[in-house]
């Protein structure tokens, strides 16, 4: 159980406070309600590039990192297809430094040309390091456009290609800031060795003077349901063949999410999971196999990925995966197997409560989903899932005409 308090400033900034006096540290986590899905199709990768520019100095403070490090703090950020999240951890006695830094960059950036030029290069190197110069590194650049034909989830957060990043202009940076970076589009969580009164006072002082800005109204083209089998085969300089099968699944806020998350656990969490046991150990056809859910705010993906052994054909490998998926549709899963994945979920939630930063991030995330208190109700939602719901969820998604298959063939 993670206790917290909430208040909203007059400019619309939502603030959540989680007091945890077992640590001498504090964390300030600011989630901006903007992700790669909010980019236009001819300017992809921008939300993530922008995240880099948030460290290039703000209107009154020339550099962001240095003053924070000087008071013993650290920070980082990540961008997903749905959100951009910034976090600071520092000794709680120096909490105000985080308020000073974060409020100034919410107020306005320095918009330095030099910073833009350098971060364009840095992000292009990141693109190469993570997506182009690795075996299978381009999987999301290929799989997303296969699964999504309409929705902006069809591109990865890094962007469709290097050119989009190369061509980013300072005017674009300014417009993006104006549209998305203001108090109304942000949620701040302050946690650790802090008090509600202290956070209220500091928030009023540093954040309340920031103009509310315009509320961004999201109106994205939604992805239509899939009714045809999709397939792409690529021959690449990879050492082993690889099979990806992606299924469209309902949005994160749809009630089926919990059943589907348990489905991915039943399939591939731990060494007692079905895919591992049947296809790596018993038969054996794969050297490794995984299943996971993207948990996207709009229509998401459940992905099954496996590397077949060298003597196993792609047809054989795919058939074996489908056989396991069909079993999930044809029969109810036994009680003890359902209990197993529920127990695992429950203990994972207990372990998660030991990490301050994780708690702060989760509170912000659930507040964006609708209510921070959902964080405390998650376990109950998983525990309430029935074998019938799991079977129903499997039947609705594990269909050939809801599948997108991407095959890597190793160039010999």
């Amino acid at each position: 159980m993670v206790k917290f308090d909430r208040f909203t400033l007059s400019n619309g900034l939502r603030v959540i406070v989680h007091e945890d006096h077992t640590t001498p540290m504090a964390v300030v986590n600011i989630l901006y309600d903007v992700g790669a899905r909010d980019e236009s199709a001819d300017q992809t990768g921008f939300a993530h590039l922008f995240e880099h520019l948030m460290f290039g100095g703000s209107v009154n403070i020339p550099v962001y990192d240095e003053p924070l490090q000087r008071v013993g703090g650290e920070n980082n950020a990540f961008t997903s297809n749905d959100i951009t999240n910034y976090y600071v951890t520092l000794p709680a006695v120096n909490l105000e430094t985080a308020f000073w830094l974060e409020s100034d960059r919410m107020l306005s950036l320095a918009f330095s040309e030099k910073s833009l030029e350098v971060q364009r290069n840095v992000v292009m190197e990141e693109f190469k390091q993570r997506y182009l110069n690795q075996p299978y590194g381009d999987v999301w650049l290929r799989l997303r456009p296969l699964v999504y034909k309409t929705h902006p989830y069809q591109w990865a957060t890094i962007g469709k290609n290097l050119e989009h990043i190369e061509h980013a202009k300072i005017e674009d940076v300014k417009a993006f800031f104006k549209k998305h970076y203001n108090p109304q589009n942000a949620i701040m969580v302050v946690g650790g060795d802090v008090t509600l009164e202290q956070v209220k006072q500091l928030s009023e002082k540093w954040f309340a003077p920031i103009p509310a800005g315009e509320k961004y109204v999201r109106n994205l083209p939604q992805e239509p349901d899939q009714h045809e089998e999709r397939r792409e085969v690529v021959t690449a300089k990879v050492p082993l063949n690889d099979v990806y099968i992606a299924f469209q699944v309902p949005a994160r806020t749809n009630g089926d999410y919990y059943a589907l998350d348990l489905v991915s656990d039943i399939l591939s969490r731990g060494q007692s999971s079905r895919l591992y046991r049947a296809l790596v150990k018993e038969q054996p056809l794969f050297s490794e196999i995984h299943a996971y859910l993207t948990g996207s705010f709009d229509k998401g993906m459940l992905v099954v990925e496996g590397k077949p052994l060298e003597n196993v054909s792609i047809d054989e490998a795919e058939a074996a995966i489908w056989q396991e998926l069909n079993k999930m549709c044809d029969a109810l899963i036994p009680d003890n197997e359902l209990t197993k994945v529920k127990n695992k979920t429950e203990s994972t939630m207990v372990f998660a409560e030991m990490a301050l930063l994780d708690k702060a991030m989760n509170l912000a995330y659930y507040e964006l989903l609708g209510d921070a208190d959902q964080f405390n109700n998650e376990t109950d939602k998983y525990l309430a899932v029935t074998a019938e719901q799991i079977q129903q969820a499997c039947k609705s998604i594990f269909r050939k005409d809801n599948s997108s298959t991407l095959i890597y063939l190793a160039e010999k």
Binding site: M25, Q69, Y136, L240, K281, K340
Partner: protein
């Protein structure tokens, strides 16, 4: 009127409170340390064993025996072990390390009565069944093929081999090494290594008296074998060649790894070297990051570190840079090393690094597990908790002159081992 150009007042971190563990030696020689704290009803139990002496004819034994601990005992199949752990929402992980290898159980306290007996069986009756060994070898060989296509991994392998030569630290496994694994060798390795006299048991989380009794009681009948574990290691002789270049004509980026043998944590200079390393490449604002990422844009990331091991240590710098700027990046690295030797670090930069390091130490103590981890760092280096007092004292008091002297003593770019994979 709020003045946003002036930083709020701040304070230096004054002291760090470390939790001292409880300690007991069991009659069978197993050393037990426990850390009792936390509001959650959960516990982490680590059984830690010193690796056996490295045998270059059978280089993978320490790794393979550890990794396969959960693959079957005289009583339980691999599937049964996985089922019984997973059913109770627990996690059982084998972790191979350069000096020690361990088995770790994460469990809710209320399920220990079901999860502990599985661990007892694993640590006393592991069998390494032939069919599981075949699967292990096959899958490891496949994973190796993927690893060997990653430039950063190739660079790390080449660097470790140069600096640590034919020792467990320098080992770069090849497909043939997996092929040579024999079940009989693994059984005798297991019997010699995984015995109580070679075990340190570290329990952290909610560890009240009853939990402590429960964990140690479960192992009451655990006996040593007749042959004690030989945990000595052959000495390290770094190779003479200094430059290693593997060309990858189609590389978009080159992996760079360079550095040299260093003193380890037990040496009096070590805390000061950590300060020097932080200045150079140990944090986001470091000189290497400021120059090669934030000024030149050559890379997504660059850093340096000191890996401190029981019988050796190495200082290293690692990065992946655009293939077309590889040579320039190496030149900039050389420039930064030479700057540390030729010029004093400014008071402004040094005070920032000192504050950063103290905040970082404080922040690394997130929960009771982190306290146990801090303990393991010093314990396995043969040091006590007073190490952290010395460490914070050195951070507070070290001067720019002392750091310059250290740089001249330890960091000579001409002596660096330099590895490049990609284009140069």
């Amino acid at each position: 009127m709020l003045n946003r150009t002036v930083a709020p007042e701040s304070q230096a971190v004054n002291h760090i409170n470390l939790i001292e563990p409880g300690h007991a030696a069991l009659p069978n020689g197993c050393q037990v340390y426990w850390f009792n704290s936390g509001d959650q009803d959960l516990v982490r139990v680590e059984w830690i064993f010193n690796n056996l002496r490295f045998d270059k004819q059978k280089p993978l034994l320490n790794m393979a025996v550890n990794t396969m601990l959960t693959e079957g005992t005289a009583n339980l199949t691999a599937a049964q072990i996985a089922d019984s752990i997973d059913y109770y929402g627990a996690f059982l992980q084998a972790e191979y390390g350069y000096d020690q290898s361990q088995l770790t159980l994460y469990s809710l306290n209320r399920h220990l009565e079901h999860t502990l007996p599985v661990v007892v069986d694993v640590l006393t009756n592991s069998q390494f069944p032939q069919n599981e060994l075949d699967t292990f070898v096959r899958n490891q060989q496949q994973k190796l093929q993927v690893s060997l296509q990653k430039n950063d991994i190739l660079a790390r392998r080449a660097f470790n081999k140069a600096v640590y030569s034919d020792t467990i630290y320098g080992l770069s496994a090849n497909a043939i090494d997996y092929q040579q694994l024999q079940r009989t060798d693994m059984l005798s390795h297991f019997k010699q290594m995984y015995q109580p006299a070679n075990c340190t048991l570290v329990i952290s989380g909610k560890v009240d008296e009853a939990t402590l009794q429960q964990v140690t009681g479960a192992f009451a009948n655990w006996q040593n074998s007749f042959e004690p574990a030989d945990t000595t290691q052959p000495s390290i002789t770094p190779v003479t060649e200094r430059f290693f270049y593997t060309e990858k004509p189609e590389a978009l980026q080159s992996a760079i790894r360079m550095g040299l043998p260093m003193v380890n944590r037990s040496h009096p200079d070590f805390p000061a070297l950590q300060v020097l390393n932080t200045v150079l490449g140990g944090y986001f604002g470091s000189r290497l990051m400021a120059n090669i990422r934030e000024d030149k844009g050559y890379t997504y990331g660059i850093g340096s570190g000191i890996s401190s091991l029981k019988h050796g240590a190495a200082f290293f710098i690692a990065t992946e840079v655009g293939a077309d700027v590889c040579r320039s990046a190496v030149e900039e690295i050389e420039k930064e090393i030479n700057l540390l030797r030729s010029e004093l670090i400014s008071e402004e930069e040094l005070s920032l690094v000192k504050n950063y390091m103290q905040g970082s130490l404080l922040g690394s103590l997130e929960n009771v597990f982190s306290h146990a981890d801090k303990f393991k760092n010093v314990y396995f280096s043969g040091l006590g908790f007073d190490y952290y007092d010395r460490y914070t004292e050195v951070i507070k008091s070290i001067t720019a002159e002392e750091l310059q002297t250290l740089a001249n003593k330890y960091l000579n770019f001409d002596e660096f081992y330099k590895v490049i994979v990609g284009k140069y």
